[in-house]
Symmetry: D3
Subunit: 227 residues, 6 copies
């Protein structure tokens, strides 16, 4: 499936404005809004708390212990992109550090999502360049074997196609296919509007049991109360 | 063992005042004070650092990917409770977020301990509602199958009976049976009083080897020094 | 291989001044500077973010669930040392807390690296005593069976000889053999000098592809660009 | 919860005849028959394939790296028992080997279920003494600290009360509370009778879609077929 | 990315004859032959040793704890197919047992590859129906929420498109895109022919160092021999 | 610590006759006999059950995804050796298959112990060449970067020096330093002689409690019996 040794220069990015809107909703709301699909596996964690971003995917397929293609990917970055990287075999090496982050930021990248390790966590935190990764490791990598840039990849269990929208925060990372970004942003906005009212009622002490009308379906499902 | 589809409304909570005292000691001291039993497994981690709480357990048994019973549990919460939730099979889904936290806080809950995933980490941190969980995940859950509330459950390897005292902080989570809370609080206070003196002597450079009289038992156990 | 029940009192520590220099470079640069060897496995994590230290290793081999030898090790600590501890079988118990940290600090220790669990994370953070560990657990330990102090040990997959230099930060932990510390510090300084210039050029938008002359080797390796 | 240092000599075992019946059904059918509760976590694996047993639980709570209580438990074994053992902290040491198995067999034990490691796998296989464990390890244990025998324990995430029925095979291990063994055996027999007929129809090419009448509920749930 | 609630009835299967050829080569040779891509992650293991199969993929996307779509998939099976199943979130439940296997065999299925758990391992072994899974668990599943059949899925980290060829044996599982099956079979045959000669020379004591001409490149790469 | 790019041709192997004796005792007895040290971590598993071997270690340090040094190691094998291989970073790739096994067998190797993956499990089983590994994977490796042969390595958490004796069976793998092999073989023989008598008494129904005189120490340790 995965073509090695190629760089696709022309990819169709999701609509910029709609993609920008997704960041404010966060990964949980976006995940719900697109029908509970698209989430990367939860072993992916941010290197520091609090970042919340969205952007269009530039994808990278890397070889184990080899970060050569991240340099190749840098040239394909456009402002507003998020680089999404996978490796052909599980690897925890530190593929990415402050020098590459400097280059990525200069190109306009918003973040990196990488199913491998990263290093220079302290400088990256200082620079404010957010990274989601499976590991942190001081171990560097070599530059010996080509992978690919901008092919469809599987990152942390999810298929990511170049140009898809990516939303990432403390809760995780969601991939939204380019064609669904606008609709998903609408659905997320609608969901969030609904939640504001619910939040106020719950804060006032109303129970979800009543607010959502759960008592009858629970009784039908056989729930019994015992005093 | 685990009865499904029932909610026990009347549970006997551990003594409130004694339970309140436990928070200040923290999980490590309380664990020692009750004889080194009662600790949940260490894969349970706080979603933010620094919280330290105690409270009485309202227990919840959940179905995989289904958080219906958390809504049912909300109604059973009394001020000073900590909700302790387990799932019938390992699951990392995000069972709990800021809406449920709003409801739990309105009912007087102190914290949530859940052997599954949670989401809305950033809002929860902002609200100051502490959660200990096995995972963080943006993946939501459905409301389809009843579990139970206020039955004895196994959470992260430990049996928790409704009404038991729970102590949680950065070091982990300890369960103290309701009948032992007062005695455990006494033992913890005694232990802490002892430690204050030890701390001062160690800070002054006294060695534990001397302070605890370890040199002779070490020699008896065969320890040899080689120059 | 591992001798049990012995304490070596006279060890040859790496050169103090050269060891001190290593902290500022950090684990990633030091790892590169000594030829990409010496890194402990990345499951070892700091208990709080931001600490960056170097020091000479006092090694400890512990028994499962037994921290007796940490007290024995305290006496062997000299200012500038880092205690490096391993256990004879995988164990997540909390071997170390604020009392031992008080003692270690009084002796001049810089940090603890332990392939096991620790507790009292909040007080340790407050005291500013950095620890790298495989787990955090409130579960205490006993003092029943001797291990050893200042023998060569394997900690998180790496052989550490007493007196070796240790460098630890958010990226991980590196061990530098005593005989190589001066040369490694030189190499790290040279590497860092090079990186400063590179960072400026990358920030200005120069691509790594051009700065490192990668285009030709990539083409030779068969990389194809597709429009 | 867990009382240390005690041995309960008089326990109420599940009905012998009903317990014996359970072995033939296997863990999957018994798990279904009692309402999908009671299963130990699936990391527990048999040391050799093909064994299928049932028996009444003699429970053991062990200390990490210490198998003393297995010797204490041996005396409490009656013919038809299965020893079920847990440890107070995760441990992979080899707690059990061919000598203890010889003793257990002489007492009439049917099997061992242990949430820790075992050794002497080859001799145990030769003796035909089945063991389900979380690990295999040549590392032996000491005999230094008492645990308990015949208290309720949590083994691989499941509460096991002394005298409960245990069913174990290649699919896993199920615990059936003593009071429910007869009813569960009935339900398992009924379930198995039903399955025989289903198996024949499926073998003849009938689809589950038709045999179970799933087509309508699937359509109601929104499933669409696309040609 | 992943469309829920749909069944594609018309898929293009890889060439039958070429697909049949792949089984004899095994997963390692086929993986090499198609350029070292296509391998599912190695946590997938056969439920019994020795099976070696190839077939065309019928794909299934399942919900956690819900095996409804395996019944839907049965109808889409044609002789020579291998069912490849993924779940929308990590799950170890036993989705598949001897009844479904009876149905799948009646339809002509060769095997099941499932990134979840299975049960009835002993009957399945007796029936000779091979399964590769991530877990074995007696825990059953419900039939409540539709997933999809014959959409592209990610199974154990690999993208599998309906109709792709699948090769599985004790070494793992490889996916070969339908369009590449014939070429891959040719390359595998060529590779195997080469290996036969090599095997004979190695068995006669010729070193790989000489047979592959490695001595010079090793010297160039800096390898030093020390007596 | 670990020197890269070197091959030591002259190593001092443990006494051949004493090393040969160790196989019959097995890893558990040898581990006990040398004082409970030397065991590799239990995640190392045999690729097939029943093999039990001993031999002298030829050590190999490999690069991730690169098996070049196994070819270099082949030349250093002498009859009776066991190749012990580690990788500089965690890796599950299949480093070894039937061609290399053919070469190793032609040189007289007894087994391979590798802290990485292997493939060709079925042919290796057929050839009777035993392998202990951390993973099984069809993924092959490249030959690009030198590691080392016959330097001290850390394999699965244990330091292995070239020439040490290795004992491996279904229970795991033990490393015995060359200088201690004869003494360890004596101690193992003594231990085994003792066990034969114990086994007979236990089979006759004598309890370990009585045979080992445990009742008094248990009472002293506070164990209470409750009727």
């Amino acid at each position: 499936m995965f073509e090695l040794g190629v760089v696709y220069r022309n990819i169709t990015r999701a609509d910029r404005a709609a993609t920008e809107r997704l960041a404010a909703f966060g990964s949980a709301t976006v995940h719900e809004a697109q029908g509970r699909v698209g989430l990367l596996q939860p072993y992916m964690r941010p290197i520091y708390a609090g970042a919340q971003v969205s952007g269009t995917a530039v994808t990278v397929l890397l070889q184990p212990g080899d970060n050569w293609m991240l340099h190749v990917a840098a040239e394909q970055i456009q402002p507003g992109d998020i680089v999404v990287a996978a490796v052909t075999a599980p690897c925890t090496d530190g593929y990415f550090g402050d020098l590459l982050a400097t280059s990525f930021m200069a190109r306009g990248a918003r973040a990196l999502v990488i199913d491998a390790g990263v290093r220079d966590v302290k400088p990256l935190t200082g620079m404010g360049f957010p990274v989601w990764s499976r590991a942190i490791s001081a171990k560097g990598t070599i530059k010996a074997t080509p992978g690919s840039v901008n092919i469809p990849i599987v990152c942390a269990g999810m298929l990511v196609t170049p140009g898809d929208a990516i939303v990432a925060d403390d809760d995780g990372i969601v991939c939204v296919p380019a064609a669904q970004v606008a609709a998903t942003a609408e659905a997320a906005a609608a969901r969030e509007a609904l939640e504001a009212g619910k939040r106020a009622r719950l804060a006032a002490g109303v129970l979800g049991l009543d607010m959502y009308g759960m008592r009858e379906p629970l009784a039908k499902a056989g729930l019994r109360y015992i005093d």
